[in-house]
Symmetry: C2
Subunit: 350 residues, 2 copies
Amino acid sequence: MSETVASVAGTARGAGASGASARSAAFAGRRCVVTGGMGFIGSNLALELAGAGARVRVVDAMVPGHGGNPHNLDGATGSIDVTVADVGDDARVAPVVADAEFVFNLAGQISHLDSMEDPLTDFDLNARSHLSFLETLRRLSSPAVVVYTSTRQIYGRPRRLPVDETHPIEPVDVNGISQHAAEQLHLLYARVYGMRACSLRLTNVYGPRLRLADSRQGVLGVFLRLALDGETLRLYGDGSQLRDFLHVDDVVDALLAAALEPGATGEAFNVSHDEVLSLRAAAEEIVAATGSGRVELVPWPRDREAIDIGDFVGDSAKARRVLGWAPRVGFADGVRSTVTFYRGRRAWYL
Amino acid sequence: MSETVASVAGTARGAGASGASARSAAFAGRRCVVTGGMGFIGSNLALELAGAGARVRVVDAMVPGHGGNPHNLDGATGSIDVTVADVGDDARVAPVVADAEFVFNLAGQISHLDSMEDPLTDFDLNARSHLSFLETLRRLSSPAVVVYTSTRQIYGRPRRLPVDETHPIEPVDVNGISQHAAEQLHLLYARVYGMRACSLRLTNVYGPRLRLADSRQGVLGVFLRLALDGETLRLYGDGSQLRDFLHVDDVVDALLAAALEPGATGEAFNVSHDEVLSLRAAAEEIVAATGSGRVELVPWPRDREAIDIGDFVGDSAKARRVLGWAPRVGFADGVRSTVTFYRGRRAWYL
C-alpha cells in the first residue's frame, strides 16, 4: 500500500453529490469512517456525510481496477481525510478508526470475473482483510456502529422469487463466497462481542461515480459508456432476465438508516428496489436517456453463462420494516440524472 | 512446514483400524490422498483404505494441537506415504495430488475456542488454504473425486429440529464461517469447473484416535479421558442439550460412499445419527463403559454460553437417499469399543 495520506477539501457542494438523505443531518459533527470511500458507493456516502457536517475519514486501498477514483471526492463540502491502506493493514488503519463513532465498511472489490481469475486475491481483500479489520476494532474496544455492505450475489441463482434474507446462500463465484464470509464475520462479532455491526445486501447499484470502463461494478456502467459514446449495448440471450436496480442515493440513505437504527445490530438486510426491469428494458431506458447508442441481442459467452443467475428480484421488506427505509428514485429518473452527471466527466471514469 | 516426508508401513491390521466399511474393497489399487490424514478422522480413513489395498498418500500440516498424531497410523496394513505440508502449499502438495483418483480433504482445525482466540490463523488454515488447494487441483486439471468434510457447526443455533441441509447458515464461531467458506468453494468449483467435489457436514464424531487432551475435537474426548482417569465429568447447566454422536467408523463409511456416488457431485450432505442423546446421558454412558469417573453439573462459563447452540439434531435423510449410507454403530457399543482402544494407548492421546 502507498503511504499517501491526503486531505480533500472543497468549498462548494459537488455536483452530483448524492444529497439523497434527510437522515444525514444526524451525522453533523460525528466522527465517521468510510472504507472504500474513494470508490463508487463509498464516495457518494463520504460526500453526503461531509456535506452534512460530519468529520469524515476515508480508508481506501486504491487497488487499480477496483473502483477507487481520485476524482470521486472532487467538490467535497468540508474536509475529508483520506488514508490509502487496505482495511486489513492494522498498523495503518487502527489510528484512523480509533475514535470513530460510525464505520461504514465498504472496502472490497465486486468483480465476479476477477474473482474467478484470481480467487486468492479476491478472498484476501474481501474476506481475510475484513476479519483483520474486525480484530482491529475489537482490540480497540471500539464502540462504533459498523455497517458492512454485502451483495445479493451471495444468494446465487434464486430458488424462489422474490428473494428474502432466509433464501439459501449459494454464491456462483468466489466473490460471493468472500463477501458472505465477511458478512457472517461482522454478524458473529455483533453476537459474540456486542459489536454494533450489521450488513446490507445490496442489489445492482448505479448512479454518479459508477465505473464506466468495464463491467467490474455491474453491466450498467458499460451500458452507460456505450450509450454515451453512441455505440452498441450487447445483451446476452434475449435480455429478458429480470433485475432490480437501485440508485446510489437510495443506497446512501439505507446506509445512514442502518447506522442510526439500534435494532439493526447483528442483522442482515436486503436493500433492493421494487421496480423490476428486464436487462433489455434497462438498456433501452439508458439509450433513451442519452439519446444515443442502440441495443443488440447476442448469444451467451460460455464463461458468462456458467455464472449467470437468471432472474433476480429482491425482497427488502425487512429493511423497510426495521430501518424505516424505502427506495425513492425510479429507474428512468435515476438514469437521466446519472447521464447528466457523466456529461463532461466521462473521461474520469474510463 | 517441515520438510519431512515419511513412509509408514506395517504387516498386520492395526488394532482399532476402522474396518467399518464393506465399500472399501472398491478402493483396492486406487490412488487416494487423505489430507489431514494424521488426524482423528483422516487416520481412521487412511488405515481403512490402506487395509483395502488402496495406494494411500497422506498430507498433514502436523500443527501442534490440531489432531495430527504420529501414532495415528501405527499398525497400518500396506504402505501409507506421509507428506508434512499445509494443503495451501502448492509446491509441496501438487506432486502428491497430481495423479490422485480420490482426494479426501479433511485438513483443518475444528476448535471453536481456538478460532475465537486466533481467528486469522483459523481462517487461513480452514478457508484460504483450501481455496489454494482447489486452485492446485484446477491447475493440474485433476480428474479426482474430492470429498470435503464440513461441520454441522455451520448451522449455528438451530431454528428448527431436525436440521436439514436447507437450514439457514449462522455459524456461532469463526471456525464455522471458515469451514462454510471452504465448503462453498468446493461446491462452486464443482458447479463452475466440473470438479467432482462434494461436502459432508459432520455431526459430533467420536471413536479411536480422537484427541483426549482437550475439547478441541469436541467434548467427548475430554469426557473419555476424565472417565478413564476416574475423575469428574463436568457438564454445563443441566446437561440436557441434545446431540447426535457418530462413531468414526460410520464417518469413514460415509466418506467412501460419497466418493463412490457420482450423484454426490456439487452437493452437501448432513452426516449425522438418528440416535439422539442428552450430553448428560452421553457422559453417563461413558462412565458406565469405563467403569470409572462420575458426572457433575456446573454453571455455564460465560465464554462457553456465548457460543452454545442449545439442542442439535441433524437430519441425514439426503445422505441416506443419495449416498445409500446409514449409521450402524450405536452409542453404547461405540463407546465400549472406543474405551477398549484407549486402554494401553491413553498416553499417546494426551
